[in-house]
């Protein structure tokens, strides 16, 4: 639409573009964010209407699919926030998929075979002990990788390539390839599913808290600028951001609440609680893994933008020598970054094994590639120094949308890989072109 008006009226074009760029400048909206949202929109609409036209039923833009999509994105999304830090500091971690395997097995064995011997089957503490053990194990493995890289000066590529093989092998050895299931029922909630979601009221609470958070952040940012007499954003821009932000939050609440429990679950629930549930509309609400992703995303964004740690991560990525000369202990930072990556991986391992309701030695296979792809599609530069948390999460969402969209329209996994691989290369190419235009 813009195209037609601009070609007809040359003068209007200048005015028009001026307005757009002025708008972007005033709201400080990042064009790359817009690009990603645009790509996401195209992918979603594309799959939906492809289904509509060729299969006679568009099933992508339904509460059910989008809810599932959000759950599927959680595990990769959480790890991608850590991968951003790893890649910003010019390293790579190829071992996260295998780490999921070994951590998943450790937690599975613990809650299914070891702990019940001591505290009894179904004890309330089992899931907590399992999760804590997983977190510690992931952090320790990550820290060990980081130590080898930073203090023993072995390239990250090699250390984590070794890790990719070692930890996958360990996952197998830990139970001789057996599948461990079922996991503790409370633990299983962390993987989502009808019970592993916070329901209608819970989702509204999350949504309202999030909206208040958005408004408060805008307000306190404005106050800080005022204190130092900096140029303020125009009021309309602040309001625009608040409205769009809260609008998006409320829409997502409405969306997850529009997805009801299926009949089978209703019946089972009714039977268990001795009530008649036929015809009752019970909303899923936000799935727990999605809330975990949200919490991780907020915490990591805070870490990267408001804390010294994040500032140092960027500085090391931009110029490692300068960072060291400024007195930053770059080795210690590298170790901490990999430890953090390990911890995030163990959170993903919790979600992945809980979702599967079992631990298998193949859990997380190929995840490292998806995680790296998510970070890169989200704008993390492999040359270091550049990358954002929200970008990586959006990258994970783009990738997961492609994967599950192709499943919906019946493409098999071979085609899925061809497409995801191509999109990865395409995304980086577009980025390169965009960046060279800008400079």
């Amino acid at each position: 639409m813009t195209e037609t008006t601009t070609t007809k009226y040359g003068a209007a074009k200048v005015e028009h573009q001026g307005a757009i760029s002025r708008f972007l400048e005033a709201t400080e909206i990042n064009t790359r964010l817009l690009g990603m949202l645009g790509a996401l929109l195209i992918i979603w609409l594309g799959f939906h209407f492809y289904g509509e036209i060729f299969i006679g039923r568009g099933s992508f833009l339904t509460p059910r699919n989008l809810w599932n999509l959000s759950v599927q994105t959680s595990s990769i999304g959480i790890m991608s926030t850590g991968m951003v830090l790893v890649i910003i500091t010019r390293n790579i971690d190829l071992s996260v998929g295998s780490m999921i395997g070994v951590i998943g097995m450790a937690m599975g064995l613990l809650q299914v075979e070891i702990l019940p011997q001591y505290v009894g089957l179904g004890h309330w503490s089992i899931w907590i002990l399992a999760v804590i053990t997983g977190l510690v194990l992931g952090t320790v493995i990550g820290a060990f990788h980081g130590w080898l890289i930073a203090y023993r000066k072995i390239p990250a590529f090699i250390v984590t390539l070794g890790g990719l093989m070692v930890w996958r092998g360990m996952a197998f050895l830990s139970a001789n390839g057996r599948t461990i299931s079922p996991v503790d029922p409370t633990f299983a909630l962390l993987g989502g599913g009808p019970y592993g979601a916070v329901g209608e009221v819970g989702s509204w609470i999350v949504g309202i808290v999030a909206c208040v958070g958005v408004v408060w952040m805008l307000y306190s940012g404005r106050q800080a600028s005022k204190r130092h007499d900096f140029k303020l954003k125009p009021m309309w821009a602040e309001i625009f951001i608040a409205v769009v932000g809260c609008g998006a939050i409320i829409s997502s609440v409405l969306l997850v609440n529009a997805y009801p429990w299926p009949k089978g679950i209703l019946k089972a629930y009714g039977r268990a609680h001795d009530i008649d549930m036929t015809g009752v509309f019970v909303s899923h609400g936000f799935a727990i893994p999605v809330l975990i992703l949200l919490a991780v995303g907020i915490a990591m964004t805070f870490l990267m933008t408001r804390m010294r740690f994040g500032r140092y991560v960027y500085a090391i990525g931009g110029n490692p020598e300068a960072a060291a000369l400024a007195g930053i202990n770059t080795r210690w930072m590298t170790l901490k970054i990999f430890a953090l990556m390990g911890m995030l991986t163990s959170i993903s391992a919790v979600i992945a094994s809980a979702r599967l309701n079992s631990a298998t030695n193949a859990l997380g296979t190929l995840d490292e590639l998806y995680v790296i792809a998510a970070a890169v599609i989200g704008g993390t530069s492999l040359t270091g120094g550049v990358g954002t948390i929200y970008g990586a999460i959006l990258g994970a969402l783009v990738m997961q949308s492609l994967l599950s969209g192709m499943v919906l329209i019946g493409f098999d996994s071979a085609i899925q890989r061809v497409v995801v691989g191509s999109v990865l290369v395409l995304a980086v190419w577009i980025d390169t072109v965009y960046n060279s235009r800008k400079n």
């Binding site: 408001r306 500032r311 110029n319 020598e321 000369l325 400024a326």
Partner: protein, 262 residues
């Protein structure tokens, strides 16, 4: 100029470092007094940058001692050096290209809020003040340093060094990327800092850059010290002779690297 009765701000004695087989700095002595500018001169590869990197903690010396105000200093990393009030502007500038000017000024010494988060607005406000002194036209505080011109980046590096009340300032080719006007500003700044009693090492491979600013010169060649001289006692040509041939004029005090007269 008789400094012998005062305690030097910095005294480095018998400093050596080798990279593989190369003796980059070979038994060098040098000192610096409050309010004094000492120019360290020498060819490309003479070992000037290496010497000052030892002082700033970037390199670990193989041997030798460093004294700060008469007391032996324990400098093993850049953080230690900063604790002694030694600030360095590196030849490579050593700025993190992908973060903005304020973040660079405070890199490693960020201002934090009460709850321990970065106080970016406070840092930007301070950055504006310091940069205003150095380069009043500078306005691009929010952009990554990579977007700045060479001279602007240099101003950022200089501002970072003077921001923290340095007692000792080391400037490795500080005006290399600057235009005449900015160079003049750096010259003025050096005069001003001198008056505040700050000692300055000014490193250059070009005598013309520093002759008017320096109180004393020290010339290095192949990692060794050729000699020292008060700037007013020697001519530019004599100093050139020291740099190129290692030949010490009569007014200079020869060091171990001086050409032996037959």
């Amino acid at each position: 100029m008789s400094n012998t009765d005062k305690i030097p701000l910095i005294k480095m004695t018998d400093i050596s470092i080798a990279f593989g087989g190369i003796k980059a700095v070979d038994h060098v002595d040098i000192d610096l007094f409050p309010g004094e500018v000492v120019a360290v001169l020498g060819h490309n590869g003479a070992g000037k940058s290496t010497l000052i990197k030892i002082l700033s903690g970037a390199y670990k010396r193989d041997s030798g001692k460093i004294f700060v105000r008469g007391e032996e200093a324990d400098i093993n990393n850049p953080r230690d050096a900063k604790k002694y009030g030694i600030e360095t502007i590196y030849q490579t500038l050593a700025v993190a290209d992908n973060v903005d000017a304020a973040a660079n000024l405070y890199l490693g010494r960020e201002i934090l809020t009460k709850i321990g988060t970065l106080d970016d607005t406070a840092m930007e406000a301070e950055a504006r003040k310091v940069m205003g002194r150095l380069n009043p036209n500078f306005q691009r505080f929010k952009e990554p340093v990579s977007k700045l011109s060479g001279g602007q980046r240099q101003s950022v590096a200089i501002a970072r060094a003077i921001l923290f009340n340095a007692r000792i300032l080391v400037m490795d080719e500080p005006t290399a990327a600057l235009g005449p006007q900015e160079t003049e500003q750096v010259g003025e700044l050096i005069h001003q800092l001198k008056k505040d009693g700050i000692g300055i090492f000014l490193i250059s491979h070009d005598i013309h850059d520093v002759f008017d600013l320096a109180d004393r010169i020290a010339v290095m060649k192949n990692g060794k010290m050729v000699g020292y001289a008060n700037t007013k006692d020697v001519t530019k040509d004599e100093v050139l002779g020291m740099i190129i041939l290692g030949k010490c004029p009569p007014a200079a005090i020869p060091g171990p690297g001086a050409m032996q007269e037959a």
